[in-house]
């Protein structure tokens, strides 16, 4: 047998060119190219607002999808973890003499980023360790509890959250007054996060995580430390949510406890559900649909006509989510996958004379 094993069998050809050039990867590559070229032809509002927000929400939602698709854990704590990073950045960067609240440590913004990510990762590790013995609905409930408690913690420790929030949080010079640069950085970060999660899925760690998703009892009997594994996956997702949180606070310029309340927490879950909780690409797709609906839907004349005002936007999104969930439990990504399969079948040559009638019948929709 081959001593390297990486390219020895048909079952695991490694990262061969053929595998890299799959339809899925080509679509992702095309979308990335489009996103990078967008500033050349997109409007300022579309790039700096809609798409920038899409990338931030997409990264945060991807952490939900990562945990759900590979670990079987639906986490409602991801927005809280992004918020922890945001609060840490806010407290660290605002200068002592600024007209703002919080600790006002006045640190270098990049040091602040490292600090924020370290704190977020540590918090994620502790929260993950506490939740790692549960699965399914119990895991969801515990992480929902984290989100609620987190909101109250930041709301009540006012030195940290500064009565009604910390304002005047400037991004580093690299991004200050350069919103397009910030957008491009987010596109690059999105690609990094996406590729990392997918590569991770094929590592020994990632495979074990999927084993735990499928059968934690079997995994334990094979010698795996199931809760440690879940904890580490949650920590990694927390770190990544922290990255989204850092950009979010730079983009907003401020953060307050309401921004991590149950509303935004559920919004992020909705983003993941719209895209499909089992598909990483879906995270960004869901984010785009959510942000676009948020910005454009309410301006439609028709919407004005039938009297749907801003306050009723949530109803529209609710109905949208309901429709998607009824049509496809795997979200938009699931719908696209089914359409793709349908087209594939449509353009497939008709079954040859050798096939049985049963096969032919099964082949036609």
């Amino acid at each position: 047998m081959s001593p390297t094993g990486t390219a020895s069998g048909p079952a695991r050809p490694g990262w061969t060119l053929r595998r890299l050039l799959s339809a899925r990867n080509l679509v992702v590559a095309a979308a990335t190219a489009l996103a990078l070229l967008l500033p050349l032809f997109g409007s300022n509002f579309f790039v700096e607002f809609v798409m920038t927000r899409t990338m931030i929400l997409g990264i945060a939602a991807a952490t939900i999808v990562f945990l759900a698709a590979y670990g079987g854990m639906i986490s409602l704590a991801q927005y809280l973890l992004a918020g922890v990073a945001g609060f840490m950045v806010g407290n660290a960067v605002v200068a002592q003499d600024a007209w703002s609240k919080g600790l006002k440590l006045g640190w270098n913004p990049w040091v602040a980023v490292l600090f924020a990510l370290a704190v977020t990762t540590a918090v994620a590790f502790v929260l993950g360790a506490l939740a790692s013995r549960t699965t399914g609905i119990y895991f969801l409930m515990i992480t929902l509890t984290y989100a609620v408690i987190g909101y109250y913690v930041f709301g009540s420790i006012t030195p940290l959250s500064g009565f009604g929030g910390i304002t005047g949080i400037d991004p580093p010079g690299l991004f200050e007054d350069h919103p397009v640069r910030m957008y491009l950085a987010l596109v690059v970060l999105s690609v990094l996060v996406y590729v990392s999660f997918r590569v991770l899925a094929a590592t020994p760690f990632g495979l074990a995580l999927q084993g735990i998703r499928d059968d934690p009892v079997r995994m334990a009997s094979l010698g795996f430390n199931v809760s440690l594994h879940r904890t580490l996956a949650f920590t990694l997702a927390g770190f990544t949510a922290g990255l989204a949180g850092v950009f979010n606070v730079w983009w907003n310029g401020q953060i307050d406890p309401t921004s991590i309340s149950i509303g935004p927490t559920l919004d992020l879950l909705i983003v993941a559900v719209i895209g499909g909780t089992l598909s990483l690409e879906g995270a960004w797709l869901g984010a785009f649909v959510f942000v676009a609906a948020n910005n454009y839907l309410r301006n439609l004349p028709l919407v004005d006509h039938i009297g749907i005002t801003e306050a009723r936007f949530n109803t529209i999104v609710g109905v949208l989510v309901l429709l998607i969930m009824i049509l496809s439990p795997d979200g938009l990504a699931g719908i696209i996958e089914r359409v793709r399969k349908g087209l594939h079948r449509l353009f497939q040559p008709p079954p040859g004379p050798g096939s049985t009638p049963a096969e032919a019948a099964a082949g036609s929709p």
Binding site: M1, S2, P3, T4, G5, T6, S8, G9, P10, A11, R12, L200, T203, P204, F205, L207, A208, Q210, G211, R213, D214, D215, V217, R218, M219, A220, S221, L222, G223, F224, N225, V226, L228, H229, L232
Partner: protein, 267 residues
Amino acid sequence: MSTDAAAAASAERHGSLLSLEAVVVAFGGLQALGGVDLQVSQGDRLALLGPNGAGKTTLFNVIAGDIKPTSGRVTIKGIDCTELPARFRPRLGVARTYQKTRLFRGLTVEDNLYLAQTGRSGRHLALLRSGVDAEFRDRARAMAETVWLADVVGTTAGDLSHGQQRQLEIGMALVTGPEFVMLDEPASGLSRGERERLVQLLLSLDRDITLLLIEHDMDVALRAAHRVVVMNEGHTVASGTPTEIRVDPLVHAIYLGSEAGLGGADP
């Protein structure tokens, strides 16, 4: 080496591998195991027989650490394992299958067999593939061949037929290179031909491997085992060689009173 040391080594080798003392398991009011004593030596081939609900699977769960006994003691290789969580069993060379298959349904056959090996090694936290990994891969593919799954190594476990899933279940226990294997009804749902292959596989296992087998198919059980223990209602009620058990009137009474007769396979 002195003769004393050789004798000690031999005693160690043929000594008690597994010992259960007065093991009781109660589920609420129901006593699934009512004080079971059992000794298994290295190299033993032991079949556990008994009607449905006799407590055979529960006994496996206790030995494997999947459930803790209400009282009593479990010793494996001289180590008290009564309180030890399931995940420490592989380090003692223990592997098991489940009556109701427990596979990683979203992963391929090869990945299932690969994962079965990594838990024990500590490699499962690794982010990079390594030489050890390649060995695991090779062994996974070799085991796929052993359990007749060579042409479906790339198939997702959830998409396998029932019989193939049973085969993978056995492969996942054997691929760990165990010293002590527990198989819970490995022949259930297999065709006659598949059962015959299974018996051949069990007979071809290394002589040093200790086998504990739950099996309703008398033919499979009595051919693969050297010793038989019969359970009923949470107790061991008879034990002996396959020939003794075949003619034991008590065993006949239990089996004739239940769904399967001796000598006949369960439908």
